[in-house]
């Protein structure tokens, strides 16, 4: 289990948990927004671009999402073998 933000471009992973419940981050301003964009537990994500700093680009289903690093570090994933 590792944060999504640490995956390299081209790697795929399964989302295990989204840690959104911290003060000032209501479930539905963070987690729900991620969920409604398709980032949910059990989903497979592919990292398209991860420059190491700044936002990263992931692919879920058919959509490309830009995720701030802060958000990406809250998403715990299991890396899948190629």
């Amino acid at each position: 289990m590792m944060p999504l933000g640490l995956l390299a471009p081209g790697e795929k992973a399964e989302i295990l948990a989204i840690r959104g419940e911290k003060p000032g981050c209501h479930r539905c301003t963070c987690q729900c927004r991620l969920e409604s964009l398709g980032l949910r537990e059990g989903k497979t994500v592919e990292v398209l671009n991860n420059p190491g700093r700044g936002p990263l680009l992931v692919k879920v289903d058919e959509s490309r999402l830009a995720l701030g690093r802060g958000v990406a570090m809250k998403i715990r994933v299991r890396r899948m073998r190629k």
């Binding site: 000032g24 981050c25 209501h26 539905c28 301003t29 963070c30 729900c32 927004r33 991620l34 969920e35 409604s36 964009l37 398709g38 949910r40 398209l48 671009n49 420059p51 190491g52 700093r53 700044g54 936002p55 680009l57 879920v60 289903d61 058919e62 959509s63 490309r64 999402l65 830009a66 995720l67 701030g68 802060g70 958000v71």
Partner: protein
């Protein structure tokens, strides 16, 4: 308007008008679909009480009247963002006859989640399986009847960009709207425990609160009450009694506290399951074009250079195309139009003051603002192109890290860039930011960007005082604005807009080539507010300014006019900044209308001689207008292909200032000129920007704050420049 529509209907239509709400995810092509259906009949306004755009259109189809209402694009219907609340409230309270759900068929699963929520409202749903051309290109296949059968809706493939499938879509809408019983949506079964609770709540509401049962869709109401939706509990006053507690106790024991999560999971499950069954994907190994482009455009090293080139191109093209036309409009207003007005007023023997009011007040004031219309529209066009093609979202991605320094994220970068052209579209562009705090903070920083209207001031003063290194000084003004924006951003984030650094989540749509038609429609929609405002209260304020310069009645010396007195009154404030003349003060006051007026007011006050030139005839004027328009287009065209097109900007305000240049050189020193330029850059947003603040935020508050901090900052910076310069012995 409602009455009118009702009247028309009563006269001509026996059958009732169908109200059709159009919902869908952002980037699903909803806008394009609406435009394709309604075209020019589209009326754009705002939803009551908020500044989110509302589009409506009435159209005739097979002799029936359909009223389309465009709901804000949303990913779900949970009541947490403004857009979602608007969409939800409309659907729940206005009971449209049919919902058209525009779905990106290439991204079915996620789009279906919203569909699942729409179905719960009990209103017939027609799904537009949009972007079907790309869907087919990808080699996907869909079992439409399975989708229709399991959800109890109609599904029609459409390609909105090419207008395909729209007839079928409208036919399905008509059919569903006329036979709602046959098109009752299937509801998702949430399992025995939940369904029992739902029934219990529904019964309770029916018996005890029959008014609520008619006001809201029943099943939806019951589900929301079980979720303990705060807004609904407040609205219905059902939260207080012990009833809900009892109805949900059993549920919570079995499923935990978060029923909302439980329901959300069930909907996702259904959407995912259905997609698996109905959709056949061929596995293709090849990378999509969008991903290939992104690999270059978002590259760690190439991303920023590519972005800078794109921005430079946008500016170049905007000013190349816009400037000659601005000059042309300006020429028409100050030349023939002014002469004709004078001639007309003389012909009807109007008093002298009326002539002056019409020419100097109305044409010189409101007309002045109108001259910027070509620039605004050119800019809007290129912005629309950047947005429509999908690149704008990439720019936000690339600039995200730099913007974090200001406590903002990448999306805020777009409005700030636009601010260099004109602050007005920049304020409107903050619309793309979801978080209200980010939106306001960004809008507050926009006025620090050197807009095109500040340039004439820079050009005039650098020409007089820093001729040898004019471009460096102008460039320094731009940099000063950017640096101060960063500083103010950090300051605001630490004080007024405290809170977590914003979450950056944004969908990057696939690259698409927008059609010319949709480009033009969106450009027009973006720019037309500007025209309307110029014709209404900018006109009013211009007339007011004219009176201020000409009262008390028949004042001979402008120094003794109200504006002159005002200038004299506030001039001491500028004493420590090095420019305490009443002329400079008055010019700054009038600069509120538009920053370039600072220059024109100075010209007026420092006393230009009335130009005595041969007045051309009407025919010659007309000819000249035509010829100069041709020239303007030619210039615009040739500019685009010349590398140094932007340079035309700096060469503008040259001639005709000769007569009062000397006086200006006497009144200012290089140091006080620099302070004056910095003050002009910072002191306050112009009138049109003020209108944009009010229009976008619905309150004068943020304009007030922008003005207040602007004035303070302007004074401080000018003070530091002037006094600091003197200390360094640079002369005063």
């Amino acid at each position: 308007m409602k009455n009118q529509a009702a009247l028309k209907m009563a006269l001509s239509e026996p059958a009732k008008t169908l109200t059709v709400a159009v919902a869908g995810n952002p980037n699903a092509g909803k806008s394009t679909l609406i435009n394709a259906l309604a075209g020019t009949r589209l009326q754009v306004g705002n939803w009551p009480g908020v500044t989110v755009e509302k589009k409506e259109a009435t159209l005739l189809f097979q002799g029936r009247r359909l009223r389309l209402v465009d709901l804000p694009g949303t990913y779900s219907l949970s009541p947490y963002s403004q857009e979602e609340i608007i969409a939800l409230d409309y659907l729940v309270q206005e009971h449209p006859d049919v919902i058209v759900d525009v779905v990106d068929s290439t991204n079915l699963e996620r789009n279906l989640y919203l569909t699942m929520q729409l179905l719960e409202l009990g209103i017939p749903v027609v799904v537009a399986l949009n972007i079907y051309d790309e869907f087919q290109k990808k080699g996907y296949e869909i079992n439409t009847s399975l989708l229709e059968g399991s959800l109890g809706l109609r599904a029609v493939p459409t390609v909105a960009t090419r207008g395909e499938g729209l007839e079928e879509l409208l036919a399905a809408v008509l059919e569903a709207g006329d036979h709602p019983e046959a098109h009752r949506p299937r509801t998702l079964n949430y399992g025995q425990d939940l369904e029992t609770a739902v029934q219990e709540v529904e019964r309770h509401v029916q018996v005890r609160h029959p008014d609520l049962a008619t006001r809201y869709p029943q099943r939806w109401l019951a589900l929301k009450l079980l979720e303990r939706d705060e807004r609904l509990l407040r609205e219905t006053n059902l939260g207080n009694g012990p009833f809900l507690e009892q109805a949900t106790r059993h549920l919570r024991e079995g499923h935990g506290d978060d029923l909302e999560e439980l329901l959300a999971e069930a909907r996702y499950g259904q959407a995912a399951g259905l997609t698996r069954e109905a959709l056949k994907k061929k596995a293709t190994g090849r990378r999509e074009l969008t991903e290939k482009i992104d690999a270059i455009v978002l590259n760690r090293f190439l991303g920023i250079p590519i972005f800078l080139v794109a921005m430079w191109l946008m500016f170049k093209l905007t000013f190349d195309v816009g400037n000659p036309l601005v000059d042309w409009v300006d020429g028409v207003f100050t030349g023939p139009l002014t002469r004709w007005t004078k001639a007309l007023f003389t012909a009807i023997a109007a008093p002298e003051w009326l002539v002056s009011l019409a020419t100097e007040g109305v044409i010189g004031g409101a007309g002045m603002v109108l001259t910027f219309v070509p620039l605004i529209f050119a800019m809007m066009f290129f912005i629309t192109l950047l947005e429509g093609s999908g690149y704008m979202a990439r720019a936000a991605f690339v600039m995200d890290r730099a913007m974090h320094a200001m406590g903002l994220h990448g999306k805020s970068f777009i409005p700030m860039i636009l601010g260099f052209g004109c602050n007005v579209p920049a304020i409107y562009a903050t619309r793309t930011l979801e978080n209200p705090k980010d939106k306001i903070l960004t809008a507050l920083l926009v006025p620090l960007m050197s807009c095109g209207a500040k340039l004439p001031v820079y050009v005039l003063f650098t020409g007089l005082f820093f001729a040898a290194y004019a471009s460096t000084v102008i460039w320094a003004m731009y940099v000063l604005g950017i640096v101060l924006a960063m500083g103010m951003g950090i300051l605001f984030r630490r004080t007024l807009f405290k809170g977590e650094s914003p979450l950056f989540i944004m969908e990057l749509p696939p690259y698409r080539l927008p059609t010319l038609k949709s480009l033009l429609i969106h450009t027009w929609e973006k720019g037309k507010h500007f025209l309307v405002k110029a014709g209404t209260y900018i006109l009013a304020i211009s007339i007011l300014m004219w009176f201020l310069l000409n009262l008390p009645w028949g004042v001979a010396d402008k120094k003794d006019s109200v504006l002159g007195k005002l200038g004299q009154g506030i001039a001491p404030i500028f004493q420590p900044l090095g420019f305490n003349q009443w002329q400079a003060a008055s010019a700054l006051v009038t600069g509120f209308i538009a920053k370039e007026i600072v220059v024109s007011t100075m010209g007026q006050i420092y006393g230009t001689e009335e130009e005595k030139e041969e007045a051309p005839s009407f025919g010659e004027d007309l000819q000249e207008i035509g010829v100069s328009l041709g020239k303007a287009f030619w210039e615009a065209g040739s500019n685009v292909f010349s590398t140094f097109g932007i340079a035309t900007l700096a060469a503008e305000e040259d001639e005709k200032t000769e007569s009062w240049r000397d006086k200006l050189t006497e009144s200012f020193t290089p140091l006080s000129a620099l302070a004056f330029m910095a003050f002009t850059l910072l002191y306050m947003p112009c009138m049109v920007t003020a209108a944009a603040y009010k229009h976008e935020f619905g309150t004068w508050k943020w304009f007030g704050l922008a003005t207040a901090y602007g004035l303070i900052l302007a004074w401080l910076v000018a003070f530091i420049i002037f006094q600091g310069g003197r200390l360094l012995g640079l002369g005063g």
